[in-house]
Amino acid sequence: MMLLALSSALAVEAEVAAEVGTLHNGDPAYDAFVRGNGMPSAGLRLGFRPRAEKHFPVGVLASWQHSSRGSDVSSVGPSYTAAFTSDTFALGPKVDVDLGGVLAPYVTAQGVLMRGLARFDDDRSDNDSPGQTRYTGVAPGVFTMGGIEASSPDIPEMPLEFLVFVEVGYGWVAPLELGGLGSMQPGGVVVRAGTGVRFGRSGR
């Protein structure tokens, strides 16, 4: 509703989408938390572009992705739980080509800010177990992606339209310094897909 109001007030196209994705993390440091090199995530994407008589090819995307993975780790002696959580905030332009009002291939380059949180707990059953340890860090990065978006056909009576998209690209993040724990550098192939709604489409 807020987006709808914003869209009307500012005369912009606005979209909101729920998305899932994954970012490659080949850093061996990630093995301390899970096996496998993927950081699956879920989050939200917002998009804006000026409303015009005809399709305006440049917009802005802003997104937040949350990733959280962990393991129970056993070794000599007692076991513990290790988990790594990240929140990735991205902002950048998107350039697309309108193909018949239904399909729109696009490219985007986004500046990224990733907040990482490493957590350790030797007793998950106790919320206040003294061994709980946390390390946080923030690192900048850049994602470049290309994708394709499909929209529902234009129905004049409808104030919004539905959209789905999938995008693939490469993500680079600076080493994430996690205090005394050490550092980790996620990065590599990034894949995202999502579905959402758009308000105030150009041409209406």
């Binding site: 061996p28 096996r35 993975r69 393991s71 739980t81 003294p130 061994g131 390390y135 050490g182």
Partner: protein, 511 residues
């Protein structure tokens, strides 16, 4: 709504979808070295060294690129010595090096390992000496100036790779950084330092298979001055079981497996005296007070004491065989861990022998630092005699060494740890029992006792020089508590074992 849903789903719960099994633990509680600066711990997974102070957060000691393989305290100082294994990668094709920057990424066959012996004080490296190859044992001189690195084949964790020299040790001068390989004989594994009149280290005695080597540390280069052959028959092998030096450093007293003889090596006159003992020795203690040596036997109910001047023996008859000796100031305490219940206090000046009868057989005993008490852990035993309740349970007995009485205690679990604290007119013993969450603190003067309940089960105990008790906890992420015995104040530090966990061990340049 979305936020509420996420909170309801346990947004803040720590995720734990997988199960991982790691070869190495995050920390090694048994490696604890207490100093005035804090407690040093080895972190095996990170290959690092952590310092956990009482009043500050824990931190890593910067040892450079390498893996900590051994940590030892130097007695009487706040210095710890760390053995750090450094690895270079030397592949056949140097272009491969561009893709290899950590030890884990370098194939085993290309690794070139060297070892640095580093002295650490107050969390900083004081000195470092490089030696070639791998070593798993260090011995230090009393003045902390010299160290000897050697291979201990009895260590089950010893992993040998490549060509290994079985006849050499490395002697290190920690003050100058000098190190030298010295050839001493096959499988050297016992080292004793000789001291001069003012306490300075003057020499080294090294036991190997059938040989004893003496090295003069005052001369350069360090080399074997005298070699004593324990047998003249090259077909027979003599395996020394123990070696002790007399307080003046003149004689090395050596017992040999399966023999009822004692080798007294005169390190000045370079001769060997063979002393005939009452039986096969089970323990030998050189006592500075009185300048005598005490010997017990596992097959004879006697204890023998001989002086270091004329090597004349005094023999004391006992009711039971004793096989362990604890040295006090001017006396020794004898006990047996062979299932017998007697213990003795022998005054070395007067020859007075006091017998104590324990309720259950001891398996371990320690002397309190004041020498007024000895505390024994006893095991449960079958049988009766009217004390079935006591016999069926593990116990603890306090021996009053100023008198002849004992105070027995029943324990809930087997005694596995004992530490003493002396000060403020108190003499406290802290007792750790197997599979028991609390600690038992006993004032040995008054008999007053308190139990100390802990949030995290204890794993080990010890004490610092200032009388503070040290408690390590059974937790994977690292846990240690400092207990002030008179006030009961407990200061804990947890979670330090994750320090440096994500830092890879990088390669050093190939020599």
């Amino acid at each position: 709504m979305l936020l509420l849903t996420l909170l309801a789903c346990g947004w803040n719960q720590i995720p734990h979808g997988q199960y991982l099994n790691e070869d190495l633990p995050l920390w090694d509680a048994a490696s604890a070295v207490p100093t005035a600066d804090g407690i040093y711990f080895s972190l095996p997974r990170a290959g690092a060294l952590a310092l956990v102070p009482r009043a500050r957060d824990a931190s890593l000691v910067d040892l450079g690129e390498g893996r900590l393989t051994l940590l030892q305290g130097v007695e009487g100082t706040d210095v710890v010595v760390a053995l750090v294994e450094r690895t270079a990668c030397d592949p056949e094709d140097e272009r491969d090096l561009r893709r290899i920057d950590t030890v884990d990424a370098c194939p085993d066959r290309y690794r070139v390992v060297s070892t640095d012996v580093m002295a650490v004080d107050d969390g900083a490296v004081l000195s470092s000496v490089s030696i070639d190859g791998r070593y798993n044992r260090l011995t230090f001189s009393d003045d902390a100036r010299f160290a000897v690195a050697y291979l201990d084949f009895a260590d089950p964790s010893l992993v040998l790779q490549g060509v290994v020299d079985l006849t050499s040790i490395v002697v290190l001068d920690l003050t100058t950084g000098r190190s030298q390989l010295v050839n001493v004989g096959f499988a050297a594994d016992r080292v004793r330092f000789q001291s001069g009149p003012s306490g300075e280290t003057t020499g080294l005695v090294v036991l190997s298979r059938s040989e004893v080597a003496q090295i003069d540390l005052a001369a350069e280069p360090w080399d074997v001055g005298t070699t004593f052959n324990l047998t003249l028959d090259p077909d027979s092998v003599v395996v020394p079981s123990a070696v002790e030096l007399t307080p003046d450093g003149r004689y090395a007293l050596i017992t040999v497996d399966g023999q009822a003889d004692l080798y007294a090596l005169d390190l000045e006159q370079h001769s060997i005296n063979l002393l005939e003992l009452a039986g096969r020795p089970s323990d030998l203690e050189v006592c500075e007070t009185g300048d005598v040596t005490v010997v017990t036997y596992s097959d004879q109910a006697v204890v023998e004491v001989f002086d270091h001047d004329r090597f004349e023996f005094d023999t004391y008859t006992l009711d039971e065989r004793m096989n362990r000796i604890l040295e006090g100031d001017g006396f020794v305490v004898l006990f047996s861990d062979l299932g017998l219940k007697d213990a003795y206090r022998l005054d070395l000046a007067s020859g007075e022998l006091v017998e104590y009868r324990l309720e259950n057989p001891p398996f371990d005993m320690q002397l309190a630092p004041t020498g007024e008490f000895a505390v024994a852990f006893t095991r449960a035993e079958s049988g009766g005699g009217g004390t079935e309740l006591y016999d069926a349970r593990p116990g603890m007995e306090v021996l009053d060494l100023l008198g002849d009485s004992t105070r027995p205690y029943l324990l809930e679990g087997r005694g596995v740890g004992l530490a003493f604290s002396e000060g403020d007119g108190r003499l406290d013993a802290l007792v750790l029992q197997e599979n028991v969450r609390y600690l038992y603190q006993l004032d040995l003067y008054t008999g007053d006792a308190v139990t100390l309940d802990l949030d995290v089960p204890p794993a080990g105990i010890g004490s610092l020089a200032d009388g503070t008790f040290l408690i390590t906890h059974a937790t994977a992420l690292g846990g240690v508590s400092f207990l002030e015995p008179s006030s009961g104040q407990l200061t804990s530090r947890f979670g330090f074992a994750t320090l440096g966990l994500l830092d890879p061990i990088e390669l050093v340049e190939a020599p």
